[in-house]
């Protein structure tokens, strides 16, 4: 997840923590948010609900959402 966020936001993976959010990552605007969602759906083969997309306001929240979807898929 950190590597994916590192690619999308163009910052090194070691600068990304669970607390990283649109407030701390300059590049994290609505368009990059959409790109992140698409990258997640592509990579983890999940489908995010509009509510999930709304709530993903930090890398930790993103990771938790992905984890939830993947475990319910199996």
């Amino acid at each position: 997840m950190r590597n994916l966020a590192s690619d999308i936001f163009g910052i090194p993976a070691d600068k990304i923590t669970a607390e990283s959010s649109p407030a701390t990552i300059e590049n994290w605007d609505s368009m990059q948010h959409l790109n992140l969602v698409l990258a997640i759906e592509e990579k983890f083969e999940v489908q995010l609900e509009p509510e999930d997309i709304e709530q993903m306001k930090s890398i930790g929240a993103v990771a938790a959402t992905v984890e939830k979807l993947r475990s319910s898929a199996h």
């Binding site: 368009m31 959409l34 790109n35 759906e41 592509e42 489908q47 509009p50």
Partner: protein, 646 residues
């Protein structure tokens, strides 16, 4: 020798290793190699995250690479932003530095109509008009059941009229190529199966609009249709759409198909880029064992190799059909195989399951020499640059060797399963063409005649005897609708005998042909062995009492047969006839046009000036002794431009 399982893919293909290599190569300043690794990474893992990485690194090094720069504007009624990085990464892997301007949401009409809009300020080479059907034709899409048959038909006609207006307005402002998305049919028509019982149903009317779009596109130069309805059918409309993303982000295309959209645009971008850079794939070189047939001819023999109408041979026949379709588009085929010549030729000529035969190949290299050397020889024999070759081989080891030694060759990643071979060839953007000339369709036959000609030449004592024996007939003609595409194509593709290497689109040539001070000449050549078709173009521009040769080029097929002298003599004669005193022309050297370097000097021109870009030569028309050689029968056709194109 073509056993793909015995050659595991090298470890360096792992995406993480490749990323580390790219950063290390950039840090060392090895930009070309870094760019090759980036392309490799992209091919290996063409995902959204990879695209961001590729674009970020590419931005760092793009100024140091020799890429074709291209500006694309996307006019749209839906969110396309997430497609842009995928598209730029894909373009980069084709050697194209693509700059993309995305128009504001749903402002395409204003952008097209307003000559001051950001669209025209961006000065694109190429514009995509991507409008969703439910926005282009809302009445037909949403409230169809409310409409009377007459009202529905009128609504369809209004849509056609608006497209006609937009395209016409666009062409007045810009010479850029325009790609128009056609409209998708509704997947669930309002009236269910009843809809498909009539031409006037929802689907029928959308199809009618699409047919009209084809007609409109054909009326303009450089306007093309992207069959969006067929694209959806190919990928499956229900898989293509993502209703959630449409509702929350106005993105109608599912994450898994954003790349498909980018690749579909690439099928237009690659040939357009080729027309600007002169870098077009002209030859597909194929391997034999496990590529053109299943099995190894040297081991399995005629009875053992698999090729024919039944599975598994059918997969190879499907590939043959794809190859023959390429050859009908003017792409030459060649063979490069490690084999005993006799074994391979027997299979090529006599195997009942083969649809492609030895005569379909313009060059054959069947030996045990390494493929890199063979590819170089094929390029030389066919008189094309090494970058005009594409390479099809089932063996990943051979592919990597060719990639490493000849980075300019387009190497096709053949899937492991032969059932997917034909699609891999058909989907390769490098083979796309946006127009076809008569020459393209007969190219394979022309190369066969060339072989006879080369054989004949060796029997003559002097060049002059050979020229007389050839009985060349040349026909000079102006630009017409029949020749326009070929004339533009020659300016775009000719690299060797080309004095100024100026590339022109069809729209630009058509515009020039309208100006009284510009003269465009084209020359067709025939000889005792066959028809060469339209092989030469010259463009001259009158400037007072001097006529300047803007463009002078000849296809490599006829270089050195004095056709160039005939064409130049005609330009001089016609300039003198229009009252010019002098004929002037630049020679602008490139990496490839050395064959044209001494052209003006050999024809009695004097050098006036030399600078960093090239040298300027002039000929005094009064004292000139330039004449058409007496062994060429020269005809001047004076047909006028027929039909009206905008």
């Amino acid at each position: 020798m073509s056993d793909s399982t015995s050659n595991p893919v090298p470890a360096e293909h792992d995406p993480l290793t490749l990323r580390a290599q790219v950063d290390e190569l950039i840090a060392r300043g090895a930009f070309d190699l870094a760019s090759r690794r980036l392309a490799q990474l992209w091919r290996r893992d063409p995902a959204q995250g990879t695209a961001s990485f590729v674009i970020a690194r590419f931005e760092e090094i793009r100024d140091k690479l020799a890429l074709t720069k291209l500006k694309l504007a996307i006019l749209r009624s839906f969110t396309v932003e997430p497609i842009v990085p995928l598209l730029r990464a894909e373009a980069f892997s084709y050697g194209i530095d693509l700059e993309v301007h995305v128009g504001d949401f749903n402002t395409y009409v204003q952008e097209i109509l307003d000559s001051q809009s950001s669209l025209y300020r961006f000065a694109p080479n190429l514009v995509v008009l991507a409008v969703r059907a439910d926005q282009a034709a809302p009445e037909l899409y949403r409230d169809f059941a409310d409409l009377s048959p007459e009202a529905a038909l009128q609504a369809a006609e209004r849509v056609v009229k608006s497209y006609e207006q937009w395209i016409g307005a666009f062409r007045k402002q810009s010479q850029a190529a325009l790609i128009v998305h056609s409209l998708e049919r509704p997947s669930t028509p309002s009236l269910g199966v009843l809809d498909s019982q009539s031409e006037a149903g929802q689907s029928g009317l959308i199809l009618r609009i699409n047919r009209e779009l084809l007609r409109i596109a054909a009326e303009f130069h450089g306007v093309y249709t992207l069959d969006y309805d067929a694209l959806l059918a190919r990928h499956g409309s229900e898989h293509w759409h993502d209703e959630r993303k449409w509702l929350i982000a106005r993105l109608p295309i599912a994450a898994g198909h954003l790349l498909s959209m980018a690749c579909e645009w690439m099928r237009f971008i690659v040939p357009l880029s080729g027309s600007l850079s002169g870098r077009t794939v002209k030859v597909l070189v194929v391997d034999l064992d496990n590529t053109l047939w299943g099995g190894v001819i040297g081991e399995d023999g005629m009875a053992g190799i698999k090729v024919g109408p039944e599975y598994p041979g059918a997969a190879f026949q499907a590939l043959h059909r794809a190859l023959l379709d390429l050859s009908r588009k003017g792409i030459l085929l060649a063979v490069c195989s490690k084999n005993n010549l006799d074994d391979a030729m027997e299979a090529l000529d006599k195997h009942p399951g083969m649809l492609v035969r030895a005569r379909h190949f313009a060059a054959l290299r069947i030996n045990w020499t390494d493929k890199v050397q063979n590819l170089r020889e094929i390029a030389e024999e066919l008189n094309v640059g090494i970058d005009a070759l594409a390479f099809l081989d089932d063996n990943p080891f051979e592919r990597e060797q060719v990639r490493a030694a000849l980075p300019d060759v387009t190497v096709i990643d053949l899937p492991k399963n032969p059932l997917e071979y034909a699609a891999a060839v058909r989907n390769c953007a490098a083979f796309e063409r946006l127009s076809l000339s008569a020459e393209d369709q007969q190219r394979t036959e022309m190369y066969a005649a060339q072989k006879q000609r080369d054989g004949a030449e060796q029997n003559f004592q002097s060049k002059e005897d050979f020229f007389r024996f050839l009985e060349q007939e040349a026909e000079l003609g102006p630009v017409s609708n029949v020749t326009l595409a070929r004339i533009a194509q020659l300016t775009q593709k000719t690299n060797q005998f080309n004095l100024t290497t100026r590339r022109y689109t069809e729209a630009q040539i058509a515009e020039m042909a309208k100006q009284p001070d510009w003269q465009i000449f084209s020359i067709k050549v025939r000889d005792r062995f066959g028809d060469h078709g339209l092989v030469g173009v010259a463009i001259a521009h009158d400037q007072g009492d001097q006529c300047e040769v803007d463009t002078f080029l000849l296809s490599c097929r006829v270089i050195g047969r004095t056709i160039e002298t005939a064409l130049l003599a005609h330009i001089a004669e016609s300039a003198a006839h229009r009252g010019c005193q002098r004929l002037a022309g630049w020679f602008l050297p490139t990496r490839k046009n050395a064959p044209a370097r001494d052209f003006y000097q050999q024809h009695g021109f004097e050098c006036q000036e030399t600078n960093a870009t090239g040298s300027l030569w002039t000929l005094d028309l009064k004292s000139s002794k330039l004449r058409c050689p007496d062994w060429i029968k020269l005809k001047v056709a004076t047909e006028i431009t027929e039909g009206e194109k905008h």
